[in-house]
Amino acid sequence: MLWGIPPGFLLIAGALLVPLFAGPWRKAYMTILPIAGLWALAGADHGSFYTFSLFTYEIEPVRIDALSLIFGYIFHIAALLSVVYAWHNDDIIEQMAGLAYAGSGIGALFAGDLITLFVYWEAMAVTSVFLIWARRTDAAYKAGMRYLIIQVGSGVLLLSGAILLAHETGSIAFVKMSLGSLATWLILIAFGIKCAFPFMHNWLQDAYPEATITGTVFLSAFTTKCAVYALARGFPGTELLIYVGAAMTAFPIFYAVIENDLRRVLAYSLNNQLGFMVVGVGIGSALAINGAAAHAFAHILYKALLFMSMGAVLYRVGTIKGSELGGLYKSMPLTTIFCIVGAASISAFPLFSGFIAKSLTLSAVAHEGYLVVWLILLFASAGVFHHSGIKIPYFAFFAHDSGKRCKEAPVNMLIAMGITAFLCIAIGVYSPWLYSLLPYAVDYEPYTVSHVINQTQLLMFSALAFAVLMRFKIYPPELKSVNLDFDITYRKWLPSTYHWLITVTRDGWHSILEDLRNAVTGVIRQMFRHHGPEGILARTWPTGSMALWVAVLLGGFLLLYYL
């Protein structure tokens, strides 16, 4: 750790000083921050730093080891690329939020105890939401609000779990845990929310496509991969995660096929990619953890590249709906090429980064003999190529010509995409570089004849399936629509159940009141009938009839007297 600077600190503190710079100075300053951070972190000694005691607990703000370092490196690289991609953007809120968010993400990676982790965990939530709100649309505001509630909720669960765990074990150290007590379950769920586990995933597909063009590139890198890191640190070898991860790889791809918003397609595919990493964590062997870390590293780059290319399209054309795009390769040839590089990388074509990363996880799963999980991952690999590899470039840049003509993406976007694309290819071609960063020693050769041929077969036959479905017009067209997902529960059903309950309670209360009022009115009406001004007991009697009745009474009395 060069200069003794805690990782992440440069970006967080640096974000506060952004307003002091203007114009090109600010851009230079923002670009230097992640570079300096990376420089300070490179080759850092392993160990704990700045440890102090709070009451009886050890707070360990900085803990450096191989697992946190590889994530730390890629987070800095992602921050740098995102900043370059956003050079054209002068929105100071986004600039500050982006840097502080990246810094919080980096800080979380190096947290040695659960309380420090919690602080960074919530800092990520609070800073990142501004990248969504900065879009300044009503939809972005609402999606950001839902995002914030869910993210902060995850932090609250984490804190609750940490407190319970401290009570049980007397330690708040962030180390490997085993499921069994409420404390560890709460912590797992907190991680699971940020990692977009099934049924906790919708904040991702909801919020990321609503964020700003540059904001989504930032968002795609940090939160979810920080959660993968946290799982790899806290729950390696937890078998449950194998099945959770397998489910995550499979179900989002069905949505990705029918989704029209291409950035939302990418959000679903992000979810699918996280599944591979979660499976790796669940297997927990050295090979599998290496797989998860390598996949996260490669994934951050190619997913950022894909979001960048779709962001460039959105920037130039003003929409990112598949139903309105097509034929853009004529206007944006470079963006098209970069997008295809990202697509090839996420699909794990040989010579691209996904290939050398995903192979580790798949081999680890096969090595442990999980046949069904392996088949699901293989299905998901074919599916990834289908929707991210083909659908994204095809509907944006090829397909039927939408007639839209625009300029190529701004130079800074092209530079960011160019560097990212270069890294995707370089990592894929020269596997020893990424492998040397992995947490465990690697003895793995991705480029065997059988592996290369098998992967190419899998992918080319998936392409064939797409081609056949297109040719025979079976492929579902892009339609202007939304597709229901689990978020309907809290966006529609819960609010409408709430309003229904309110209505029923209010109506019920009103009718109870009405009944009571009717009863009281009835009694009053009865009394009024007898005692009111017209009532029988309140009537004025004529004197004549009085005399008559007295005579009748007296007559009756006389009669009785004589009997």
């Binding site: 077969q457 080319m460 064939l464 081609a467 040719r471 629509s481 409408s496 309003h499």
Partner: protein
């Protein structure tokens, strides 16, 4: 020939070659499935056809208008 047709037929040819290539190398299988001739190709093809057909059926149930979530729940009943 139109570009689309060129792409279509080249994909078919590449797939054909890759299918034949299965006879030409030594396999290192983890599972016995992998030793089936052309397993990866056939699995990929069937998986993707199945994926798209299933997604198409799913869409019939899940599709809603773009404005579906824009309506304010306060003014509407349970399913507006």
């Amino acid at each position: 020939m139109k570009n689309v047709n060129k792409v279509y037929w080249s994909v078919i040819i590449v797939c054909g070659l890759l299918f034949i290539a299965d006879a030409l190398y030594h396999k290192h299988p983890y599972f016995s499935l992998e030793t089936w001739f052309g397993f990866y190709g056939l699995y990929g093809f069937i998986a993707c056809i199945g994926l798209v057909l299933a997604a198409k059926e799913m869409r019939k149930m899940l599709i809603r208008d773009e404005k579906y979530y824009d309506t304010d729940n306060r003014d509407n009943g349970d399913d507006a």
